[in-house]
């Protein structure tokens, strides 16, 4: 759909600084509603629990807008904690993205670090605390990026978390 509807934004300063927040009248009730345009990303990248060998991906826990992000994007990539023979979702309403909605699926154990993967490992809270300080200082930020991101590879993530 081209837009989403809200009741908020009226009476606030947000529409004044964001021209993408606009207003329409409901054709049935006449109520004035705020609307914002659809987001259509070129690429969505998500991290999930597991995929099967056909590339179907199972999501579990706080799912946020991950399914929406994948379905809204032209192309999508999922990294997962593990690739398994059977997803075994356990019940009929599990959140599963069919393989044909994804352009690529890759196993990256620990790939949510420094955040957590529900059912696999918990969040690295002390990292989050440190990041508050690191991100305030350009030199410290660049040094950290060099050491932890640019000089590293996907397989390094597994060592950063305590996998079951």
């Amino acid at each position: 759909m081209p837009c989403a509807l809200f009741r908020g934004y009226r009476g606030t300063d947000l529409p004044r600084v964001n021209p993408r927040i606009r207003f329409i009248a409901c054709p049935f009730t006449g109520e004035e509603l705020a609307c914002i345009p659809a987001l259509r990303p070129d690429v969505a990248i998500i991290h999930a629990q597991k995929a099967d060998r056909a590339g179907n991906v199972l999501l579990d826990g706080i799912i946020g807008v991950q399914k929406e992000a994948v379905l809204a994007a032209r192309r999508a990539i999922a990294t997962v904690e593990e690739i398994v023979d059977e997803l075994s979702p356990g019940h009929a309403n599990a959140v599963i993205l069919p393989g044909w909605t994804l352009s690529a699926v890759a196993a990256v154990p620990g790939g949510a670090h420094p955040s957590y993967a529900h059912g696999y490992y918990s969040r690295d809270n002390s990292f989050y605390m440190e990041w508050d300080e690191i991100s305030r200082d350009r030199d410290r930020f660049l040094a950290w990026m060099g050491e932890n991101v640019l000089a590293r590879a996907p397989e390094d993530f597994a060592a950063r978390v305590r996998l079951p």
Binding site: F6, R7, G8, Y9, R10, G11, T12, D13, L14, V17, E31, E32, G61, I62, I63, G64, V65, K67, E68, S115, Y116, H118, S122, R123, N125, S126, Y128, M129, D132
Partner: protein
């Protein structure tokens, strides 16, 4: 039992909640107050966080709305579009519990920017769901520490509509929900005048003077007729709150307990 002004604030905010409330909870002070209510006098209260965790009962206070703890202790977890469309916009939430960086006399909240929007002195986290929460919940409670920088004559930006810049805009827009009905601070509690929607001091916290409240308010604050003294925290309330904060500190590291990284 001695207590801090901040503990008085959290306890007073918690007492405003009851077993039958369905509460949309902001991170930080609102989250502490809502969970204190749940762990003391309102064990049946329904707490909902923006991440889609319905009826959550966290053991420790979350650092952010995305904490796994909220999901693991929830009755069920739905997606973000669902929590907004079906539960919040659907009118299922009786109370939205919010904080912010600035509030004015009509309960309008700023969590976007200090200074001009185009040349900010401080850029804040932004609305998140606050703008929608402010309009869609049955009523709004606000909890914030009170000083001249937070309780201001004119807020720099209206992120969440209270009663409007002149106290009349909300009504004029025909928004059917009540908007802000309570502000709890570390000095007092305030309720809006039913005619003008201006917040008046309804109770002073023990030991706090009218002058102290005046000095810490950026507008000419008025005191309600029949103003009372806020009831002091009980030993039980303090014990439960301190246990909760100690558990939280152990789980997240000491900075979290001070609220350093908590945000909307």
């Amino acid at each position: 039992m001695t207590y801090t002004p901040s503990e008085m604030m959290t306890v007073a905010a918690a007492r405003a909640l009851g077993n039958r409330d369905v509460c949309f909870v902001g991170i930080g002070l609102p989250s502490a107050a809502c969970n204190l209510a749940r762990l003391s006098h309102a064990p049946q209260i329904t707490l909902i966080y923006e991440s889609g965790t319905l009826e959550t009962r966290p053991e420790v206070l979350p650092l952010s709305i995305g904490d796994g703890e909220l999901c693991e202790t929830a009755l069920t977890t739905v997606s973000v579009p669902e929590v907004f469309r079906y539960w919040l916009q659907g009118g299922r939430i009786s109370i939205g519990f919010l904080g912010g960086a600035q509030v004015d006399r009509f309960g309008n909240l700023n969590s976007t920017v200090i200074g001009p929007y185009s040349r900010p002195k401080v850029r804040l986290p932004g609305s998140g769901g606050a703008s929608e929460i402010g309009t869609s919940c049955g009523q709004i409670f606000i909890v914030m520490p009170q000083n001249p920088r937070t309780f201001v004559e004119t807020i720099d930006f209206v992120t969440t509509l209270g009663h409007g810049r002149t106290g009349r805009e909300r009504r004029a827009l025909g928004i059917p929900t009540k908007g802000p009905v309570l502000i709890v601070t570390d000095l007092c509690t305030m309720r809006p005048d039913p005619e003008t929607n201006e917040f008046l001091v309804a109770s002073l916290n023990p030991g706090v003077t009218r002058d102290e409240v005046r000095r810490n308010t950026g507008w000419e604050i008025r005191f309600a007729e029949g103003m009372e003294e806020t009831t002091t925290p009980s030993a039980m309330e303090l014990e439960i709150l301190r246990d909760l904060q100690a558990r939280t500190a152990r789980a997240h590291g000491s900075a979290a307990a001070k609220g350093k990284v908590e945000r909307n």
